[in-house]
Each structure stands twice: as structure tokens, then as C-alpha cells.
Amino acid sequence: MTKPLVAIRFVAKNFGEFQALKNVSLDVWPGEVMCLIGASGSGKTTLLRCINQLAVIDSGGIWLDGELLGVREQGGRLHRLSESEIGRQRLKTGMVFQRFNLFPHKTALENIAEGPLQVQGRKAGEVRTEALELLRRVGLSTKANSYPAQLSGGQQQRVAIARALAMKPMLMLFDEPTSALDPELVGEVLAVMKELAKSGMTMMVVTHELGFAREVADRVVYMDQGAIVEQGHASDVLGAPREERTKAFLSAVI
């Protein structure tokens, strides 16, 4: 029997008084493409950030590839992992940010090669070959030596996707990857993500692009006020929502 790649159990996260996540439980299966939708402040971005530990959960547990994230259970207590252990766990996930966050002082190629060279300590020659291949895959072969400031938003986001893929993650996390883009640039980024989904990558995508969700997602999860309200096949959740809150959200968005 296959096991979920990500198992989220009873996860809570507060920012001061604000409850960003309330007892969230969720499984993500290998090869699955999951889209998380919901209003801003509903907790979907926080959930993503907890999975690659940019945010630290207050209670509950997240298992990635069978390994408990961020803490170790010992003698009936949880002990925080060291920074280097957390760094090692992060390598299993690739993160794509809303605002790209490319390194502005490095070229597209250097951005992609930075992790494999510096963190994984791999050989320069093979890293370069792979980085060029990744650039080709996201359609930016000619931009290897361009700095981020010389690229459009869509091109920057595609480099950012390549940078995340360079670490050979088993799970890709997308945090509103097209929200900071001009409308005419959204398509090129979504196209790269569709290609990635087709290749069998496990993906969690926080998005407002319902068209993309309908076309690509295996499962759509609707979140509201820090909790999962409804989940299921894209055509069911988007086409025939059962919950009142989902209906209200969808009618407001479309």
C-alpha cells in the first residue's frame, strides 16, 4: 500500500491572537497535484510555509516522506531539530514564492546552480549541464547569463521554478506563483507548471487561478479561516460545491 508523501495531522499555528491554522489534517499522495484555494488570510499560504518550515507550527505534526518535520520524539517529548537537520529536510521540498525572490546579484544560471553547488556540494560541470537543461525546460535557454532585473516577471518566476527543481525535490510548493504577474505573463508560468504536473511531480499549489485548478489539479482543497472546508476532485469542488462557504467564495471569485 502506498503511503502519503505529506501527512498533516492536527496542525495549529497562531500569529499572536490570530489563529492562522486550526487543527488542520490533510494527506498529499505521491504524484498528486493539489490546488489550495480560499480567500486571503484563510491559512493556505501558512500551511505551505509550515511544510517547508519557513513557519514553525505550534502544535500537531507534519510528516514528509515518512519523516517527522522540525522535531524529534524522544522520551515522550518533542525536541527541536538543529538548523542543519531542518536544512536537510528542506531539501526534499522546492518552494516557489509569490514575489520570485531570485538572488538579484546572480545571473539566472547562477541562481539555479547556487543550491546544488553550495548546499549539496556537487561538481560544477554536472551542475552547469543540469542547470542549462532546466533553463531549456522552462523555455529560457537564451537567458542563462541575464540578471533577474533584466527579465520580465514571468521569466523571473520560471527561473525561480528551475531554481527549486535544481535541488531535485520530491514535492514542489507554489505560493501564489502568478499573483504578482501582469495578466499577459500568467500563461507562460502556468504552462511550465502544467508540464511539470504532467511529468509526475507532486505539487501543492496555492492559487487564485481556478482555470488552472480545474484543468490540472487532481484535488482541490478549499480553506477558510484556518480550516479545510471542502476538498475533492476539481470538477466536484469547483463545479458542484457542497458547502455554503465554498459556494459563496466561488461565486465571489468567478
Binding site: 518552494m95 525572490n101 538579484p104 525561480a160
Partner: protein, 285 residues
């Protein structure tokens, strides 16, 4: 409403006309005034009790040249120490560890809070407090022999500079977007590696102008080391005028050298800025 004609009347074509040059009377007048004042000052100095021949005789004297070399050596070494300490202290200051944070804040408080000349005198006179210094059981030496004017000046200037530089560095690191830390973490980097590879190179771009300022300040601050017998240019100039009493002439010699050095440093700073501006729009094309 009837349909609008192609273009309304009464707005002539100005495309062939040029912008007239304004006479700028006030600029001419103020420039003339300033030239007049400068001429008066120059005349006063020319007729004053200054033997300009002494200035030209000593401007390239061996002792003065040695002095300016010592000034530059000290400025560069003390600044290097200051930048090193500044980076370390800034990183400590921004660390989540409360012990490191407090130590860093205490260092800045102590060395920024007391006059530089006092710190130089304290280092130089360290032998009064600790006649011998060393590592118990391993090595020891008499403090008078260790604490030469050179070492006292280096420690005094460098450690003091570190306190100021740490704040410049901290400002630089804070200027880098938080998303850069997150992106570095997301590709598995630890805090120190992210600082070294991602944050500091971007912070450098911001800190070079203030650091250039600090370095120019350091070149001149080395003159304070004259009080602890470090043979920099002002100290050597003083030694000459103690002998020949040409006080003003030798101070002018020293002053001209400081001006020359600072004039050379400014374009160097521009080159450095360009180097660290990699990837920013202004220089990328």
C-alpha cells in the same frame, strides 16, 4: 453634439522652436563674489607669515613620506579590523541568541561611548594595568614590549571603528528583503551560509557609500595616534617643527598630503560601488 474636428484651432505647432538660454544673472554675480573672497584669502596667506619655501622643501621629505606611508598602512589595517569586527558584531546583533545579542550591543555601547583618543591612551598604557600579559602556563611577555605604538594604534582605531561599522553593516543587512532569507533557506542554506552567499553581497552595495565615509574618517583619525608616538604623517611633521619652529608650514605639508590621499580614495570608491552593483538595473545593461 456634433462630431469633433480632427484638431482644434489656436494651438500652434511648437516642435521647431528651441528653449532659450536664460542669462542667470544671479549665478554670475555669486560666482564673482566667491572668486573675490577666495582671492582675498589667497592674498592674505601669500602676504602672511608663511615661508612657502619650507612647504615645498618638506612636502616630499623622507620623514614626511614615511609618515604618510605609515598613515596609510595604519588606516588600511585598522579599517580591515574594523570591517571584520563590524560584520561579526552585526551578525551577532541580528542573531536569535540573546547572549550574542547582548554582547554585541555592549561592545557597541562601550566603544562608541568613549572618546577615541582616550581608548588609544588606554591601549598604549595597558602595561600600567597588566605588567605582564599572556596565556597562563603557556606563554607570557612584558606588556611594555608587546604594546608598541603600532599595536596600540591598531587596536584602538580598529576596535573603535568596529563599533561604528557594525551599525553600518546592520543597516545594510536589514535593507535586504526578507524574501531573500526565505529563498536561501528554501534551497537548504543555513543562516551563516545565507548571510555569506546571499545577504552580505547584497548588503555591500548599500554599505559602500557609508563605509567610504568611514574610511576617509579613519585616514584622518590615524592622526590621533600621534599622541601615542605612532610615526604617522602628523607626528613626523610635528617632530620637524619642534626642531625648526616652522609650525604652520609643516601643518600645511601634512594637510596637503591628507587632501591628496582623500582625493585619490573617492574614485576608488566609485569603482568598488560598480563592482557590487552587479545585477542592479543601473549597471546591468
Amino acid at each position: 453634439m456634433k462630431p469633433a474636428p480632427a484638431l482644434a484651432e489656436g494651438f500652434p505647432d511648437l516642435s521647431g522652436m528651441r528653449i532659450a538660454r536664460e542669462p542667470h544673472w544671479f549665478r554670475w554675480l555669486s560666482a564673482a563674489l566667491i572668486v573675490l573672497v577666495l582671492a582675498a584669502i589667497a592674498r592674505a596667506f601669500a602676504n602672511g607669515q608663511i615661508e612657502w619655501s619650507y612647504v615645498s622643501r618638506f612636502i616630499a621629505a623622507k620623514v614626511i613620506l614615511e609618515g604618510i606611508v605609515n598613515t596609510m598602512v595604519m588606516a588600511v589595517l585598522a579599517m580591515a579590523l574594523g570591517i571584520f569586527l563590524g560584520i561579526v558584531v552585526a551578525i551577532m546583533r541580528l542573531s536569535p541568541n540573546p547572549v550574542l545579542k547582548t554582547v554585541a550591543a555592549g561592545y557597541t555601547w562601550l566603544f562608541r561611548g568613549t572618546p577615541l583618543i582616550l581608548q588609544l591612551l588606554l591601549w598604549f598604557n595597558l602595561a600600567l594595568v597588566f605588567p605582564t600579559i599572556g596565556i597562563p602556563g603557556l606563554w607570557s611577555a612584558r606588556a611594555v614590549e608587546i604594546m608598541t605604538p603600532f599595536l596600540a594604534a591598531l587596536l584602538g582605531l580598529g576596535i573603535n571603528q568596529g563599533a561604528y561599522t557594525s551599525e553600518v553593516m546592520r543597516a545594510g543587512m536589514l535593507s535586504v528583503d526578507i524574501g531573500q532569507y526565505e529563498a536561501a533557506q528554501a534551497i537548504g542554506m543555513g543562516r551563516l551560509r545565507a548571510l555569506r552567499r546571499i545577504i552580505l553581497p547584497q548588503a555591500m552595495r548599500v554599505v559602500i557609500p557609508p563605509l567610504g565615509n568611514e574610511f576617509i574618517g579613519m585616514v584622518k583619525a590615524t592622526s590621533l595616534a600621534s599622541v601615542i608616538q605612532y610615526p604617522e604623517v602628523l607626528h613626523n611633521a610635528e617632530n620637524i617643527y619642534y626642531a625648526n619652529s616652522r609650525v604652520i608650514e609643516l601643518l600645511i605639508v601634512a594637510g596637503l598630503w591628507y587632501l591628496l590621499v582623500v582625493s585619490i580614495l573617492t574614485p576608488l570608491q566609485m569603482l568598488l560601488e560598480r563592482r557590487f552593483a552587479r545585477g542592479t538595473l543601473r549597471f546591468a545593461r
